[in-house]
């Protein structure tokens, strides 16, 4: 009896020892595996975010050569190896506001969202939010009001075809000269985004006379000087959505404010060398108007001041711009 009890106890002890060792190894193994998988996942995500940030920054840098000097418009295309969604965001706070680019890329047929925002203070990109594709077209035009304020960049996906119907001659010529395959002026396909200049049932309607573009039931106003007749802002309204257009316009006006003050200081410097002093007061007023602009509709009021200043500058002995 006694021997049997001893054997039983030994068996039980042995079983306990084995199971504890196994249990310990299993728990430790599970913890190590969990951490290994967790760290790998984090690393993959970080890698994706790094790549997204890098591509975003590269897109911004690639816009530099598109800054215009004499040209009235320039175009280029970029191709990204994977399907990409460019999220165009805009922040109108601060001295110049910010152009924010955020990219999502497709992996295994799924969009990988990243929260990395790449921002630039000196870029103004007009596009709809979340343009998708592998190939993108970028064209740029200078915006003057009355002096050159900035170059505007219009980004479109090669998948989106814009068809300009009954466009005025100078616009049709400019679009044809750009030779951008997704901007056409005739033979519109049924899936093309129709841009009409003389009314009709179109996706986008341009009222050249009243100076606004109607898109998704909202009106975006544009204006300009005799250099481009407001075409730079007209294209901006065509290629972007309401929120981006209004925000980027506010950013442009922030730069206009600073440039007005810069030219007013410039006038004071040149005055010491015998140049005329006639424009500073109006430039300060323009600066105030630019700072207070709330919506594109107020461009009409600014346009009056801009035309006065433009005439005053043209009449000067020493032109400021």
């Amino acid at each position: 009896m006694c021997g049997l009890r001893d054997k039983m106890t030994k068996k039980k002890k042995g079983a306990l020892e084995m199971s504890f060792g196994w249990l310990f190894a299993l728990v430790a193994g599970a913890v190590i595996l969990f951490f290994a998988i967790y760290i790998s996942t984090r690393l993959i995500n970080t890698e994706k975010e790094t790549l997204s940030a890098q591509t975003g920054k590269e897109i911004g840098i690639l816009l530099n050569p598109l800054e215009t000097s004499f040209q009235s418009a320039q175009t280029t295309s970029i191709t990204i190896p994977v399907e990409t969604r460019i999220n165009n965001k805009c922040d109108d706070t601060g001295t110049f506001g910010k152009q924010i680019i955020q990219l999502d890329q497709k992996n295994l047929n799924k969009w990988t969202k990243t929260d990395i925002n790449v921002f630039f203070e000196n870029k103004y990109i007009f596009s709809t939010d979340g343009i998708e594709g592998k190939q993108f077209y970028i064209f740029s035009k200078p915006f003057s009001f009355p002096f050159k304020v900035a170059d505007l960049f219009y980004i479109t996906s090669a998948n989106d075809i814009y068809c300009f119907i009954n466009a005025p001659n100078e616009i049709a010529t400019e679009i044809n000269d750009l030779n951008q395959s997704n901007l056409i002026t005739k033979n519109c396909s049924s899936n093309a985004i129709k841009v009409c200049f003389s009314g009709g049932n179109c996706d986008i309607n341009v009222n050249d006379y009243a100076g606004y573009v109607e898109k998704n039931g909202k009106e975006m106003y544009f204006a300009g000087t005799e250099d481009d007749y407001g075409n730079a802002l007209m294209y901006a309204a065509i290629f972007s959505n309401y929120d981006i257009y209004e925000c980027q316009l506010k950013r442009l006006m922030l730069r206009e404010r600073e440039l007005s003050l810069l030219y007013a200081s410039n006038e004071l410097i040149t005055e010491t060398r015998g140049c005329d002093y006639n424009i500073g007061g109006n430039l300060n007023e323009l600066s105030d108007l630019a700072a207070k602009l709330n919506s594109s509709e107020e461009l009409k009021i600014m346009k009056v001041q801009v035309d006065i200043i433009n005439e005053e500058n043209s009449a000067r002995k020493c032109k400021l711009w």
């Binding site: 020892e17 590269e58 840098i61 050569p65 050159k148 030219y263 410097i269």
Partner: protein, 173 residues
């Protein structure tokens, strides 16, 4: 008692082993991360430098710098010296605008190395428009014409000189 001690010893062995393995993984991970971080920093520096290289050829045409039509017809790579002085006085607002650490314009003919300020302008030859006081990459430069209005016996004329526009990006390393 002997078996208990033997079991405790085994657990201790395994614990030490696990701690050692964990440390090994952490060290390998840290090594890998430091390499990765270095690469990311290098990529950031390369991108900044690329930005500076592309910017230097186009900055002269941006509205804050360019001559526009102020000196007759429109000119490319022409900087308005008077406007640069006005910009120099308002540079605080532009500190992050171009995404570079340093912007400098140096007159090279006629050679004049005096730093420009409000008192000695226009009798100076070096204008440090932006200087963020950070570690920078070697400057990239572009030849430009530096123009301003000048007078001779009450007659105003355009005076243009040869200058070098230099841009340095921040070094992230």
């Amino acid at each position: 008692m002997k078996k208990d001690k033997h079991g405790q010893l085994k657990i201790q062995q395994m614990t030490f082993m696990l701690i050692a393995v964990t440390f090994l993984f952490i060290l390998v991970g840290l090594f890998f991360l430091s390499i990765r971080l270095y690469n990311v920093k290098q990529t950031a520096t390369t991108l900044e430098q690329q930005n500076a290289m592309l910017l230097v050829s186009k900055l002269a045409n941006s509205p804050e710098f360019s001559c526009g039509n102020a000196f007759g017809t429109s000119r490319t790579n022409c900087l308005d010296f008077d406007k640069l002085m006005a910009l120099w006085n308002r540079i605080d607002n532009y500190s992050d605008f171009w995404g570079v650490a340093k912007i400098e314009v140096r007159k090279i003919y006629p050679d004049e190395s005096t730093l420009c300020d409000n008192f000695n302008y226009p009798n100076c030859g070096d204008i440090k428009i932006l200087d963020k006081n950070v570690n920078t990459q070697p400057a990239v430069s572009n030849f430009v014409s530096l123009c301003r209005k000048d007078t001779n016996r009450n007659e105003i004329y355009d005076k243009c000189e040869l200058a070098l526009l230099m841009i340095s990006s921040e070094s992230k390393k």
